[in-house]
């Protein structure tokens, strides 16, 4: 090992030691037999998962709600993102471009969960604020990607239409949009995949879906119901993973 590697390890070790010291772990309390036993009892309360009929129906509607939140939010974000991406790609000059970029960056850098907490204040509990929160953050992400796609697409088709006397909007719709649309759809689908996972947990702050069910059942000490919700989340995540891997392999 060279000197640089050794120095890196020493610095990282020092930082880690400082972090552990800063957190003031109760290491004695964490690893005694008594804590482990109580931890085991806590885990045991989660089994077997609740599979009674009425609860499964609720679970199914929670799953549907999660899927609906993610799909609608992604669609709204794709529309809003495209609208903001046009000025952000510099189609209306420098000032609108900078303003649109600022809006997109601001939307992108606030996490979904913070938006969700805000929207719960603005619209009360339920799936609607979750949809809005997810849509706001995703607008920032998709808008930026769309703007880049617009900037990189060839300008000639739209210019040819303009020279032939077509109105600007028609030139955009028939000269530019067909070139960028496939890429935009690909980006939107990719974000949908991420949003399904996010929609499952947004409910922790009261924004609907499986997350809200999990939060409620844990708060009511219904561990077996919580276990069923967690299994449903795991199933969704794995299904989405598999489906997208399969699609990618087919399309590649």
């Amino acid at each position: 090992m060279n000197a640089r590697g050794l120095l890196t390890l020493l610095v990282l070790g020092g930082l880690l030691w400082m972090s552990v010291a800063y957190l003031e772990f109760d290491t004695d309390g964490l690893f005694t037999l008594a804590t482990l036993a109580s931890f085991g009892r806590y885990v045991a309360q989660f089994f077997p998962p609740d599979t009674s009929g009425p609860f499964l129906i609720k679970l199914w509607s929670g799953t549907l709600e999660t899927l609906a939140i993610s799909a609608l939010a992604t669609l709204l974000a794709a529309i809003a993102g495209l609208l903001i991406a046009v000025p952000a790609a510099g189609r209306f000059g420098l000032a609108p471009r900078l303003a649109a970029r600022f809006v997109l960056n601001a939307l992108r850098s606030v996490p979904e969960l913070v938006f969700a907490a805000l929207m719960v204040i603005a619209a009360g509990l339920g799936p609607f604020p979750g949809t809005l929160a997810l849509a706001l953050h995703t607008t920032g992400v998709l808008g930026r990607l769309f703007a880049e796609a617009l900037e990189n697409t060839p300008r000639e088709p739209a210019e040819a239409l303009l020279h032939a006397g077509s109105p600007r909007i028609a030139a955009f719709c028939y000269g530019t949009l067909p070139n960028v649309l496939p890429q935009c759809v690909a980006y939107a689908l990719y974000r949908w995949e991420i949003n399904i996972r996010m929609a499952a947990v947004l409910g922790f702050v009261g924004a609907g879906g499986l997350g809200q069910m999990l939060h409620v059942s844990l708060s009511l000490f219904q561990q077996q119901q919580a276990c069923a919700v967690i299994l449903a989340m795991l199933a969704i995540v794995m299904l989405v993973d598999e489906a997208s891997a399969l699609l990618r392999r087919r399309l590649a």
Binding site: R4, L16, S19, S109, V114, T131, R197, F204, M233, L234
Partner: protein, 280 residues
């Protein structure tokens, strides 16, 4: 009018307009249940009660809170967030490294010839993979919520949640890195009679290390962001303060914490970029 009658212009209507319109209407019809399920109703936002609360909350954002006591609290929470990310990643590495050795195909002896214990090794590999999937398949926020119930509010829950989820992610990616890097050195060593661990440390690790380090640093960056977010369910750090301020509808404090969060993310970005360049 007369001109067009004399020499008819080509049709200016888009020939594909009708199918497109039909497709759009069909998509909207498919969307209807989604609108119903999510109780989509923008009017709620403008109901007097909701709009007033929100407006009052947002108006407080300017100016951000700058009381010395509060800034000290924010500083402490920021350090706590960073510490959670550091310890979380370190523990994640401790989980991921052995599991990656266990589950990777790169150290398979039966791939290069007869191996006495291949049944046992395969019997270990699949549960290892299943464990990795389980660890990373449940979102870190869920782990955090569960650990908050088990070990109480505070950074310990965040550290454990990060360790588990990121352990699962790192383990999977490490195993893939071993498999995608050149396998000849390790195989040559094993054919010459070296054990799996020897083959790993002298045949695989030297090739795979740069990629492993770069992915781990990237995950540290994600961990900083995640540890802020996990604070929302009570797992300590900046997020927990933000949750408190938002619940008390204190816009000025929320604004300060949000700005701190943005700075922290930018800083983590810069640190990880610098670190990677320094190692390269």
């Amino acid at each position: 009018m007369q001109l067009s009658a004399a020499a008819p212009l080509p049709a200016r209507r888009d020939p594909a307009a009708l199918p497109r319109l039909a497709l759009t209407l069909l998509a909207l019809a498919a969307l209807w249940p989604a609108l119903r399920i999510t109780e989509f109703n923008p009017a709620v936002l403008f109901e007097p009660g909701n709009a007033d609360t929100m407006a009052r909350f947002l108006r407080q954002f300017v100016p951000p809170a700058t009381a010395p006591d509060f800034l000290r609290l924010v500083g402490r929470s920021t350090l706590e967030t960073l510490a959670i990310a550091n310890v979380g990643i370190a523990l994640a590495f401790l989980i991921a490294f052995p599991l990656s050795l266990l589950t990777s195909n790169a150290l398979s002896k039966s791939a290069i010839g007869p191996a006495r214990d291949w049944r046992a090794r395969r019997a270990l590999r699949y549960p290892g993979r299943a464990l990795l999937i389980f660890l990373r398949g449940i979102p870190e926020l869920v782990w955090a919520l569960l650990f908050v119930r088990a070990v109480g509010l505070g950074p310990t829950a965040g550290v454990l949640a990060l360790a588990i989820t990121y352990g699962g992610m790192l383990g999977k990616v490490y195993a893939e890195i071993y498999e995608s890097s050149a396998t000849q050195p390790a195989r040559a060593l094993m054919q010459a009679g070296a054990g799996r661990l020897q083959a790993f440390f002298y045949g695989v690790l030297p090739v795979a290390l740069p990629e492993m380090v770069s992915y781990t640093v990237y995950r540290w960056e994600c961990a900083v962001r995640a540890s802020v977010i996990m604070g929302f369910v009570g797992a300590g750090g900046l997020g927990q303060q933000l949750e408190l301020s938002m619940r008390m509808l204190n816009g000025a404090e929320a604004c300060t914490i949000l700005l701190t969060f943005l700075l922290l993310v930018l800083l983590a970005d810069a640190v990880s970029a610098l670190f990677r360049r320094w190692l390269a």
